[in-house]
């Protein structure tokens, strides 16, 4: 490099420093580079770090409940979403996230999550019909549930629930052991968005399931639980039987 070129470069740097000390790309932003974990209050960040793994990016397409599903949001109220997020659901795969329950998030962060998830809700209830209540008013009746099952579910899941033309087995012992009655209720009401399982409205041509029918089908499914689920060989066989 020749002398003049060097000098002009140095002068350019000096001028840049003097004039544009606020515009230089290297200047750190006003916030510390790394926030304390409890200071992270951005919904997108919190959701993508804590929830996306199971519930899917943006609340859709995950293995667990689709939180962005308008049916789900009409069905579960804020208190429910908050309670489940904070304390988890015992004996299921939903862990607790609140520090008070052994998780890593503060109450404030849980609030941000609940508000953000709620923010995914569109207008009011989908299609104008109010979904069944989140919790069953009274215990269901398995016998009536079996009948309701035949009406609404057997078409796809087969006459005994072990899978049929359009659906997989939903009476597998291991599956039923890993989902709570409440989880079953949620599955019946919301269906599985993005897949073929419809929500409670369209299970049969003509009319949605009634509140009582939902409760009863859940009771019937719960009655299919086995005492020792997941004994590998028989159970695996049923699973394979259910697959097409």
């Amino acid at each position: 490099m020749s002398g003049p070129a060097l000098w002009s470069r140095a002068a350019a740097v000096a001028a840049a420093l003097a004039l544009a000390s606020c515009d230089l790309p290297g200047r750190p932003g006003p916030e510390p580079e790394v926030l304390r974990p409890e200071q992270v209050l951005d919904f997108a960040t919190l959701y993508s770090q804590n929830c996306a793994g199971c519930h899917g990016a943006a609340g859709k397409g995950g293995a667990a409940v689709s939180l962005a599903d308008p049916v789900y949001l009409a069905y579960a109220d804020d208190a429910t979403v908050r309670r489940v997020t904070a304390n988890g659901v015992a004996h299921t795969l939903m862990p607790a996230f609140a520090q008070s329950a052994g998780g890593m998030l503060t109450d404030k962060q849980i609030d941000v999550l609940v508000r953000g998830i709620r923010g995914w809700a569109g207008a009011a209830a989908p299609g104008g019909i109010k979904p069944p209540a989140y919790t069953a008013a009274a215990p269901g009746d398995a016998a009536r549930g079996a009948a309701a099952y035949q009406t609404f579910c057997a078409r796809c899941h087969g006459p005994d629930g072990k899978g049929g033309s359009g659906g997989h087995s939903i009476v597998d012992g291991s599956f039923l052991a890993l989902i709570s009655d409440q989880g079953l209720r949620t599955a019946v009401v919301t269906g599985v968005p993005g897949r073929d399982a419809p929500d409670w409205r369209s299970d049969a041509p003509g009319r949605p399931m009634t509140e009582q029918e939902v409760t009863d089908v859940v009771a019937w499914l719960a009655s299919q639980r086995t005492q020792f689920p997941g004994q590998p060989y028989p159970s695996l066989n049923t699973t394979h039987g259910g697959k097409q």
Binding site: M1, G3, L6, R9, A10, V13, A16, L17, S21, L24, P25, G26, R27, P28, P30, P32, E33, V34, L35, R36, P37, S48, Q49, N50, C51, A52, G53, C54, G56, A57, G61, G62, A63, A64, L93, M94, P95, M104, G163, H168, S169, I170, D172, G173, S174, F175, A177, L178, I179, F228, P229, G230, Q231, P232, S235, L236, T239, G242, K243
Partner: protein
């Protein structure tokens, strides 16, 4: 002008420095040494100068206490005019200095410049390298953030492995029982007084020896160094040589200025380093990483077999230093040119490839679990498509039981264990069950933490993980 000259003469009459400086400046050097290859040492010295100046400027504001250091760095980044730029200069110059010292050392090694009579210059140079690395490490500590905090913890853990006196050494290193105020004060004293003081002293000695012994001549294949004849040969070369000023120094000046400009540009464009998260040990979400020049060590510590770790950690540094110190003693004579020194060249290549690959590995840290992959990395939609209720539960088990922290799906997740996108091609369901429950091959056993239903769901999900249309794994022992 005449006044200036008079002042100069007045001063020199009393200081008696002029003649020495003139001699040093005009001392003849071999013609071949006025080369672009001989500029790294002087550039390293220039960068050291930058470090002294920027370091003093930072010390005007920096508060070396455990409670306040991090906040004072925030202040430095935001409040004093261009404080962030000076921090950035200091940080970038540190990287440049380590790099320049290493390049300088490499050049000296490959040019055989450490041979007779310059053995001691090399030995002092080895200490200068160690001090430069010491400055880099203590500097990282003064940037008192999470990485610094846990970095000291790693240092203490290594020290604690010393037999018998390990515990005492840990207390001396930390200045107390825990990483705290006393620790930072100690590292401040090291970074600001002790090591720079030694550096200044040894650099002066190093320079003085270059002047007294003369700069190394450009090596020629076949020109052998012998104790009996070398001095005479060198004298002959300088006799036909050129004065250092101005024939050689302009290259040093141009290169030095370019390096300074490069540091300034890096600082202005890329900004200062950190500080990262607050040095609060109760923030356990930390995933500490060392600075660039120590990444290779980070890899090494992860990849060594556990039993070898303590011996390697405790013996490797002294052995490596000893080897470096012994280089001129063992090969003080002989060929200087790299073309005639295959072992030397090979050693450099092996060391460079090893350090390079370790550093590269440390950038992706395949051995670390991805701590939030289980809750943060979505199961790829394609790997949920068409799965049964049970298999979808299995995918949930896979996430909830933190399998994802070590096993990637769709390219996301930990890399500690193998990616499982095609696991069904490799393992049958029986093999999967056994691997999950018993662990093995560096995988923990999950037997106690999975119910039979969870295991069944998980394995039936894993069995679906294979490309469409390919047959699943087959147990060779079964018909």
């Amino acid at each position: 002008m005449r006044l200036l000259k008079a002042l100069g003469e007045w001063l020199d009459f009393r200081l008696k420095l002029g003649e020495g400086i003139r001699d040093a400046a005009t001392h003849p050097i071999p013609k071949s040494s006025a080369s672009w290859w001989y500029v790294f040492g002087s550039a390293a010295l220039t960068v050291f100068g930058i470090q002294v100046v920027t370091g003093i400027l930072l010390a005007i504001v920096y508060v070396p206490t455990a409670a306040q250091a991090w906040s004072s760095l925030q202040v430095l980044n935001h409040d004093p005019t261009l404080g962030w730029f000076l921090r950035a200069m200091h940080g970038w110059a540190s990287n440049f200095m380590v790099a320049l010292v290493l390049i300088h050392m490499l050049q000296v090694f490959l040019f055989g410049a450490y041979k007779f009579p310059r053995e001691l210059t090399w030995i002092i140079g080895v200490f200068l390298l160690l001090m430069t690395l010491g400055m880099a490490f203590t500097g990282q500590v003064l940037r008192f953030d999470q990485d610094a905090y846990w970095g000291i913890g790693i240092g203490a853990s290594i020290t604690g492995r010393v037999p018998v006196i390990g515990g005492a050494l840990v207390h001396l290193l930390l200045g107390g029982p825990i990483i705290g105020g006393d620790t930072l004060s100690r590292f401040f004293a090291l970074h600001v007084f002790i090591i720079p003081g030694l550096l200044i002293g040894l650099v002066s000695l190093h320079l003085l020896m270059v002047l007294k012994l003369g700069i190394n001549e450009w090596p020629m294949p076949g020109r052998i160094v012998r104790r009996e004849t070398y001095l005479k040969e060198y004298e002959q070369l300088t006799h036909e040589g050129v004065p250092f000023v101005p024939d050689a120094i302009w290259k040093d000046l141009v290169f030095g200025a370019s390096i300074v400009a490069a540091i300034a540009v890096c600082a202005a464009v890329l900004g200062p380093f950190g500080p990262g998260g607050q040095p609060d040990p109760t923030i356990i979400q930390a995933a500490p990483r060392p600075d660039f020049f120590f990444l290779w060590l980070f890899s090494l510590l992860s990849l060594l077999p556990p039993q070898m770790e303590t011996p390697v950690l405790l013996l490797m540094p002294p052995v490596a230093i000893l080897i470096l110190l012994l280089v001129p003693v063992l090969s003080g004579e002989g060929e200087k040119h790299w073309k005639k020194r295959p072992v030397a060249v090979l050693t450099v290549l092996v060391a460079a490839v090893a350090l390079g690959s370790f550093t590269h590995l440390a950038r992706s840290t395949p051995w670390s679990p991805a701590m939030s992959a289980w809750s943060g990395a979505p199961v790829p939609i394609s790997e949920l498509k068409g799965r049964s209720a049970l298999e979808r539960r299995g995918a949930l088990v896979f996430q909830a039981k933190q399998c994802r922290n070590c096993h990637a799906l769709g390219g996301a997740g930990g890399m500690r264990g193998p990616a499982l996108d095609e696991v069904a091609l490799r393992l049958t369901s029986d093999q999967l069950i056994r691997q999950v429950l018993q662990g093995g091959g560096n995988m923990p056993a999950y037997g106690k933490n999975l119910s039979p239903a969870e295991t069944t769901a998980l394995v039936s999900y894993l069995e679906t993980l294979k490309p469409e249309g390919r047959p699943p794994a087959h147990d060779a022992s079964q018909p």
